[in-house]
Amino acid sequence: MMMNREQKTIFELSSEGRNGFRFPKSDVKAAELPNDLMRETLPLPELSEMDVVRHYTRLSALNYSVDTGFYPLGSCTMKYNPKICEKAARFSGFSQLHPLQPVETVQGALLILYEMQEILQEISGFHAASLTPAAGAHGEFSGVKMIAAYHNQRDNSRRKVMLIPDSAHGTNPASSVMCGFRVQPVNTNERGNIDLKSLAAYCNDELAGIMITNPNTLGLFDENLIEAIDMVHQAGGLVYGDGANMNALLGIAKPAELGFDVMHFNLHKTFATPHGGGGPGAGAVCCTERLRDFLPGPIAAVIEPATDELPPLYGWKMPEKSIGQVGSFWGHFDVIVKAYTYCLMLGRDGLKRVAEFATLNANYLMSALKDVYPLPYDRICMHEFVLDVKWPDAPDVRALDVAKRLMDYDFHPPTNYFPLIVHEALMIEPTETESKQTLDLFIEAMRSIAKEAHEQPELLHDAPVNTPFGRMDEVKAAKDLKITE
């Protein structure tokens, strides 16, 4: 076992003169290099091939991933990523393509992009989609930029205020500011919904729009959603949907029918492509008819309709008043292939079951923990829920301590200290892919930690103890970050 054995860096393992290769003797004359390009030393580690293989194999074995264990990281939707999706993305017909090939030679790839756009439109109820944004926050930026372009086109330059509930992801205000908006927070009420009184105060002719995550980051379906959207629309604003929590709505509710105007989807969360170090994301943007001309491009489209003899010819189209191209080429194609495979594999009924089981699993965990952990918003939750680790009889134990202690029980900690409106937040999202047995083991660990918190709090303060390194000094890491020698 690797436990408690300190890992040396590859530089510390270096032994002078050792190497893993031999160059063949040169049969051409050595070229002279200009002196100003030469250096005295080049301190690269010197190791044999076996040393290098062992070092990195050991390190990789220390990794915790969805493939090794339960990963209830709220808001991140760390569901299992089916291997068939990886296999599909690796087909040489996809992986060997060059983005500059003539469209006639990549019709299969274009068909997949076209159909993925259609699938997202079907799931969301929106009229158009662009797959080019590279990640969730990038999708937000693109969507908010479309709202800016819409108001500009209508000469509504007074509309500079973007409303954002105080429970929102931090990327929402960042995207708004990058698009030139002034951010105005909107309060959350005691039931965890948008506070309509707080919202009403900002519904005027300066309002550009609102960014809403639904279910929100407390894992709750906003009971004021329809009314809030109406108020913003009546004031002339547009409604952006942050699709981070779409996993709870698949096949159940269509965001366009709820009144959203534009929304991004995290293909890497909802549609099971690896993320968070396991691969890049993809943040497709979908919108209603009145915003479709502003979508980022290019978009996969039929450029020559089918004839009696020939299928349609797919190619690229740039929307008429597009905010432009937000990345190079055509988006993260291999990620889209994985998401497409996932959708076809599950089909309409399967995707609906995803949302149902994600919600069921979260409520099962919540019900089994709420008698020992404070639950600030005690309602039926959607795909995740937020605990507030504040025990009057164990005042020195915080959310961070519980999160760290979970590592000793071989679970990945949940998201902590988010959303900000819950001060000692632990945000737990089990996803639909976990079995009841796994959930029961997690419940057992959490209940046992709650007991420790009251009886032996020092166990939690010292945690983790079963990992190669113990509790990290986060203050030192933030204040005294040293990234070079």
């Binding site: 504040k390 915080r398 961070l400 900000l420 001060h423 933030a478 204040k479």
Partner: protein, 129 residues
Amino acid sequence: MNIIPGFFYSKNDEWVEVKGTKATVGITDFAQNSLSDIVFVEISVSEGDHVEASDLIGTVESVKAASDVYTPVAGVVVAANESVIDNPELINADPFGKAWLIQVENEDGIDTSGLMNAEEYKTYCEGRG
């Protein structure tokens, strides 16, 4: 949790100490405790700037989160605390003392209407757990 009698308090957890036409502004013990270890402080106003009540004066960042800080009172900035920028942990150690953030002066007097007194602030904090 510590609360100083005689100070004024905002809903955003800033405190104000008034002495004549001058006021000192900082963040409260409740605020530092819920933020946990502070690692970075930025004061975005400097001496001579005029600030209105609720204007942004800086940012406090902890290992958990970053929070904007607003001045609860209007006036001209007469001092900004350099030492708390160099030693952000002062806010954890002494939020009501050495870790003050700015001082403002207002010849028309410091307007504290709309702020809470120590007793009201205590109730406000208890209401939030």
